[in-house]
């Protein structure tokens, strides 16, 4: 009898223990939700949801007053199949590709150099790379517009040296767009490559040299694979925003330098045709999606590795 009572009491006790553990786990979940909810909610309403709306509005009819009519239509999607868009799509891809390529070619030696500098100089160099990141985007484009201007110093110097005929325009061409895009995106490429190079163990390069590798061979076969992740991040954070460039081609590109971003803005501000603009945006979003998923996968992987190291 006693034994049965004791066993019953024990069971009751254990049940209570489990219950409190469950409750503390619930409280843990509740805390997590409370702390996460403000930012999670805001970004769901103002980022995730609007991104999805873009796809829906592409199937809505437009009205001549710049609004959106009820009902559904496939006309907007059909109007996208337009040979006039082909050169623009091609130019967007080509300019983004070239920008990424030149940025990586310049950023890799720069990141390498900064990582190998002594701490004092390293801080100074890093600051020098970050300053353009903080200064106004429009002002930096404007500075180039002045330099490339037909009356500007560069143009006159090139004409004086007979490198350029007085009739060619430096401004308003896809070359000008490429130059300013490289200027704008280069800091974004240097920072991740520097961050990876800083964690790289340079004794590996020295070991390779001692074993008879040439300086270039050691750089290409030891250093580059070592900072591969930083390079992938650099490529993606340059290429994705480059695809959506709008202000740069708008200010220095002229009609011969237009990109998809310009077309989206024109449909929005000039024609007031929101469904057409959102159909174009939906296409751009799909183009961005694959590289975006790649960068996200890399980031979450890095994060979970970091967490695993912590514990």
């Amino acid at each position: 009898m006693q034994l049965v009572l004791a066993r019953l009491r024990g069971r009751k006790l254990r049940a209570r223990q489990i219950e409190t553990r469950m409750r503390s786990k619930d409280r843990h979940r509740l805390h997590e939700w409370l702390v996460s909810l403000p930012s999670l909610g805001w970004l769901t309403v103002f980022f995730l949801f609007p991104s999805l709306i873009v796809f829906a509005i592409a199937f809505k009819p437009s009205n001549p007053f710049g609004g959106i009519d009820p009902g559904w239509t496939l006309d907007t999607i059909r109007s996208l199949v337009n040979p006039a868009y082909l050169p623009i799509i091609w130019r967007t891809l080509w300019l983004s590709f070239m920008t990424t390529l030149v940025c990586i070619l310049l950023a890799t030696p720069t990141g390498y150099y900064i990582a190998r500098s002594e701490p004092g100089r390293q801080r100074l160099l890093l600051l020098a790379v970050i300053v353009p990141f903080w200064t106004s985007f429009l002002i930096r484009i404007f500075a180039w517009k002045v330099i490339l201007h037909p009356d500007g110093a560069v143009k006159r110097a090139l004409v004086f040296l007979h490198l350029l005929s007085p009739d060619t325009s430096l401004l308003y061409s896809s070359g000008a767009v490429l130059l300013v895009m490289i200027y704008t995106f280069l800091p974004f490429a240097i920072l991740p490559i520097y961050a990876a190079a800083e964690r790289f163990d340079f004794r590996l390069v020295e070991a390779a040299r001692d074993l008879g590798a040439s300086p270039l061979g050691a750089f290409l076969r030891i250093f580059l694979p070592g900072v591969r992740r930083g390079m992938v991040t650099a490529i993606l954070v340059v290429f994705i925003p480059a695809l959506g460039s709008y202000v740069i081609p708008d200010l220095v590109g002229g009609p011969g330098g237009e990109m998809i971003g310009n077309k989206i803005a024109q449909r929005t501000f000039v024609d007031r045709n929101l469904p057409h603009a959102s159909a174009l945006s939906a296409c751009l979003m799909l183009a961005v999606l694959v590289p975006l998923l790649l960068v996200l996968m890399q980031q979450t992987q890095k994060r979970s590795q970091g967490k695993a190291n912590e514990t």
Binding site: I68, S136, Y246
Partner: protein, 257 residues
């Protein structure tokens, strides 16, 4: 071991490439010439002209109002987000992190376009308020990233010591963790403010009549206005930016001392 000179040369060229346009711009702002093609003597004429441009000052006011409001809200939301990301692990935080990280990479045109469509389809009037909402949205991510980096560097044994000595969760957070994090949160807030004040693309999409911000004003000046005036305005803005950056550098150095 003899170092190769190529990285040094490339780095030097990159720095010249970064700074030459800005230096030319600053020098030109003191040029008396109307077109900036040739040097016609030192002058503060364009700075004086700037004082009479009432539209610019109205735009500055709008920009500052939005900047301050967006900074406050996004710093709050970004900091709580960083706490959540740092404290918890699991599916919810994975989704949370994705939602925080994606706005950093998505092209601005897409963000501007999708927010415009949201406001149009909800029937919200475009103006200062919609610009404010848009700015908070992209600032949250930057704030969260800066604070999260700081949390990962933080020595949590101090917080644990406080808990062991009898401080409750609230006291430990409020009296120990937040003061330790304050420089990081301040730096994140300054970054948010700079981004808000500087943003053009997203603001342009969600701006309405009468809600011209400074970058929108500068854009229309670049398109239609007189270049020397923009030179002077740009120089002032560059000086402000350098000052803010110096303050931030001070704040970040404090931790290392």
């Amino acid at each position: 071991m003899k170092r190769n000179r190529v990285p040094l040369v490339v780095t030097a060229l990159v720095l010249v490439f970064f700074y030459l346009p800005m230096v030319i711009l600053i020098i030109n702002s003191f040029n008396a010439s109307r077109f900036g093609g040739s040097w016609e003597g030192f002058s503060l004429y364009w700075y004086a002209r700037l004082l009479n441009e009432h539209e610019i000052w109205a735009a500055v006011e709008n920009t500052l109002v939005i900047g301050v409001a967006a900074t406050l809200i996004s710093t709050l939301l970004g900091t709580t987000a960083a706490f959540a990301l740092h404290r918890y692990a699991g599916t919810l935080q994975k989704a949370h992190y994705t939602l925080i990280y994606t706005p950093l990479v998505v092209p601005e045109v897409l963000m501007g376009m999708s927010l415009l469509l949201l406001f149009v389809s909800l029937g919200v009037d475009l103006g200062l308020f919609t610009i404010f909402l848009a700015h908070v949205t992209f600032c949250i991510s930057y704030v969260a990233m800066v604070v999260l980096a700081r949390l990962q560097d933080l020595d949590f044994s101090i917080v644990e010591a406080a808990r062991d000595l009898g401080a409750g969760w609230w006291t430990a957070t409020w009296r120990i963790l937040l003061p330790l994090l304050a420089p990081g949160i301040a730096a994140a807030g300054l970054l948010a403010f700079t981004l808000s004040v500087d943003d053009f693309v997203i603001s342009f999409f969600v701006a309405g009549p009468g809600s011209t911000t400074l970058p929108i004003r500068i854009y229309s000046m670049i398109k239609h206005g007189s270049p020397p005036l923009i030179n002077a305005l740009s120089t002032i803005l560059l000086v402000v930016t350098f000052t803010v950056l110096l303050i931030t550098q001070r704040l970040t150095q404090e931790k290392k001392r």
